[in-house]
Point group: C2
Chain length 485, copies 2
């Protein structure tokens, strides 16, 4: 995004640097254990959006608390939030003047459905082709585990850290972090820090390390369109009753131009900060390969907003996507029902400075206006399931420079800054409540199939991630000291 | 439809006529038994579209075979069709020259889903407010049972029938009668008859007996639209990948004008025989009450093809209805998936002389043409689940006159001829293979909620139906003899 960021001041070689060589050696010696313990965590079906898994979520939290204590952190505990709990731990014995890093991750995972498309059971981690396949492998259990393993390698045998570290793992990220804002506000002192470190994103490729400098926000709504008061026989009533599934289809169709890809909700683009021509030029340099994107998605052609590249469409532009849609009879065979209701789950990714509440409201206004022209649509409900603000992170700050140093040292390639299509709403929370920037140093790969069947995480990325984490603490201590001079 | 049908030649009073008074008295004495035995049948979940209920369908067939034998019919047996079996029985001891009636019904029922909307369990018949509530109560178990009970009342104590009767109950009506054509062709001799009698329709109201003279045909298709090869994370891929749910919405929207209600599939209306102005005038006289229709449907306004009345929309005009639609994540909560596929079940009711195979083909052509303009739609599949021809029945034939006589005698009100929106494809089968017209003398009521939760059948209609059936045999014998003279 910004191509003129200063070169990091302190390149180093972690495996040879006397400050990190012991920890690196220990991490390498413990690779098998690091994997085995991660698989334990992956076996816990901590699906936060499904109430029947609340117990599993709590089990995952307790397990992580024990692991953090075992790794050598202090005050490891499970903290209630009013919903699913957070796990907290800290190590605050760094030298005077050293900065404090808050490591954030989430132990909850997306639902595994559709189960039948998994090649191996979603909660039975299976290693194949150098990757572990399981729900949550990359999002985010495998990635938060990187830092637990790194801290363990650093703190073993009386080891110490060059910075203070606090760890917070939440359990509601996949269900909208409903209680996190209030929790962070209430625990503002405990969580106070100079920077937040999050590994919940992906690199451009295994040989293209990258740091996310922009995140899209999100407005997620569920729509219910009601026609007749109850299901009807489509032969007896069909032709004279507005079919809510058909009405919903018309409404969805009226939300995006099927040719230009332009979102048609009035006022949708208000507030969008378009990238400058310099930034658009820089975005072409991040090494994003269209053909790889098409291969990963399993499509022959991209389609989206006309006038923007694929990379811009997924990172720099807002979206409107149907995540789910259902009405009437969906089992095998034929049933001649004229359904009473039709439903859609709709998420809109937002870019700075769109406001998710205003966007949700505009969607509702638009759908109601469409329904008003469709006699027989008796009701339209738009429920806001959750929302998050878009984020732009400053790239020329000590922690960002340290992340570049650490990635360059471990991967041997200078990382680039990218725009991520996904949303991590907590980044805005940390900025507002803790006044701390967030470094999004993720180790996922683009083909990890987050939220989809057969999610995976590369074991090589796991282990290089641990070494990058080890390198980061020292690089950040150095950058922080240099900036303070 | 035809307002100048000849008045029936032989009005009579079944409860007082010496030929029927014993049977009527017996039927009245056995009303409790008639209900109790029907409830036994309603308890069998004979859902033909769901493979796990195949055993239940066979159990229902065996139960009916036993009841037909017990009622006094001969050769009661379960006949294999290659799919779910038919039940057959006969009584062929009528006087020389008497005609033969084939009674058709179906023992299979629609799936009960959505179960949660039933006030009482769908397969636990519950009497409330004079009706029995259960899946299949009206469609068609309660109605086929009318004739079994009537035959039993006629044949008890050495009783005889004035006509020959054959009974055929099929088990695949709700799944498209896939094997019936071949079965009827193979059993042409056994099933040979002068007329087919079917009670699988409804009257206009309890005090407005009616006979269906027109049935819509149907083309039922299942559509699958494929975008990406597998489910994707909508944050990582959204905006640059054609969302198949959105594409399907655009396709559905392009099938019907949301204002005029006109179906937009090219060539869809080819072959439609529009009712003459005389017929349209006659249709206004059948006593159809718009406000009752709206109340039954639970809607404040009808919507459909502009320029046609509600009654014409559901009976005289072809339709396009979404019976089911699904894509992506449909469970509670938010899942940010960009689905790989989207699906719809679409049924089109057809009027004479539309051809269901040609209509199915035109739908497919239309959807494929739409997809061709949507890059990123990787595949469109249109599977034909079933189809049936539309039917117009002659009204001035002996059996139709007999049906009018029987209904008028029992209900005390002269019946009218109506156009039914539903489809009974077998009517065309019987016309083509057996060269026999079908009399659609149904006893359902418009608010029976066929195919929907809380299906019911009025017990009063059941018992009046039994008496009408008893009256029909004699009225038909008379009309047939008169016509032969």
């Amino acid at each position: 995004m910004e191509s003129d960021v200063a070169t990091p001041t302190t390149p180093f070689s972690p495996a040879e640097d006397p400050r990190t060589m012991d920890a690196i050696a220990r991490a390498r010696a413990e690779r098998k254990r690091t994997e085995t313990k991660l698989f334990e965590l992956l076996r816990i079906p901590s699906v936060s959006t499904q109430a029947e898994h609340a117990g599993d979520c709590r089990a995952a939290a307790a397990w992580l608390r024990d692991q953090l204590a075992d790794a050598g952190l202090a005050r490891a505990e499970v903290l209630e939030t009013g919903g699913l709990p957070c796990v907290y731990a800290e190590w605050l014995e760094a030298p005077a003047g050293a900065p404090t890093v808050l490591v954030y991750g989430h132990y909850d995972v997306q639902p595994p459905e559709p189960i039948e498309l998994w090649h191996t059971p979603p909660f039975e981690p299976t290693v194949h082709d150098g990757s572990v396949f399981a729900r949550g492998a990359a999002d985010d259990k495998g990635q938060l585990w990187i830092h637990v393993a790194a801290l363990r390698a650093m703190l073993a045998d009386g080891g110490r850290l060059p910075v203070n570290v606090k760890v917070i793992f939440e359990g509601e990220e996949e269900s909208g972090s409903e209680h996190l804002d209030a929790f962070v506000a209430a625990e503002r002192d405990r969580l106070a820090c100079d920077v937040v470190l999050v590994s919940d994103t992906h690199m451009l490729a295994a040989d293209k390390p990258s740091i996310v400098a922009s995140l899209r926000g999100m407005a997620y709504c569920e729509v219910q369109v009601t026609g007749p008061a109850h299901d009807l026989h489509s032969g007896v009533y069909g032709g004279a009753v507005r079919n809510p599934a058909e009405a919903l289809a018309h409404m969805i169709a009226a939300c995006k131009d099927p040719v230009t890809g332009r979102i048609l909700i009035p006022g949708f683009y208000d507030g969008v900060i378009e990238p400058s021509s310099e930034e658009r030029e820089a975005l072409t340099q991040v090494g994003f390969v269209d053909s790889e994107f098409l291969d990963e998605a399993g499509i022959t052609a991209s389609w989206g907003e006309q006038g923007w590249s694929i990379y811009e469409r997924i990172g720099a532009r807002p979206t409107f996507e149907i995540n789910g849609m259902w009405s009437g009879y969906t089992s095998p065979g034929a049933k001649t029902v004229l359904p009473s209701t039709a439903h859609a789950k709709i998420s809109m990714r937002l870019v700075a400075d769109q406001d998710w509440e205003r966007i949700s409201e505009r969607l509702e206004t638009h759908l109601r206006a469409l329904a008003a022209d469709m006699p027989g649509v008796e009701d339209v409900q738009v429920k806001r399931l959750h929302g998050g603000r878009p984020v732009l992170v400053e790239t020329d700050i000590p922690a960002m420079r340290a992340a570049r140093t650490a990635l360059a040292a471990v991967f041997g390639i200078e990382p680039v800054f990218t725009r991520e299509g996904g949303s991590i709403p907590v980044v805005a929370t940390f900025a507002e409540i803790l006044d701390a920037p967030t470094v999004l140093m993720g180790f996922g790969l683009p083909d990890d199939r987050l939220h989809a069947p057969n999610e995976k995480f590369s074991l090589n990325q796991l282990h290089l991630g641990v070494e990058t984490s080890i390198a980061f603490w020292h690089a950040y201590a150095d950058e922080h000291a240099a900036a303070a001079r």
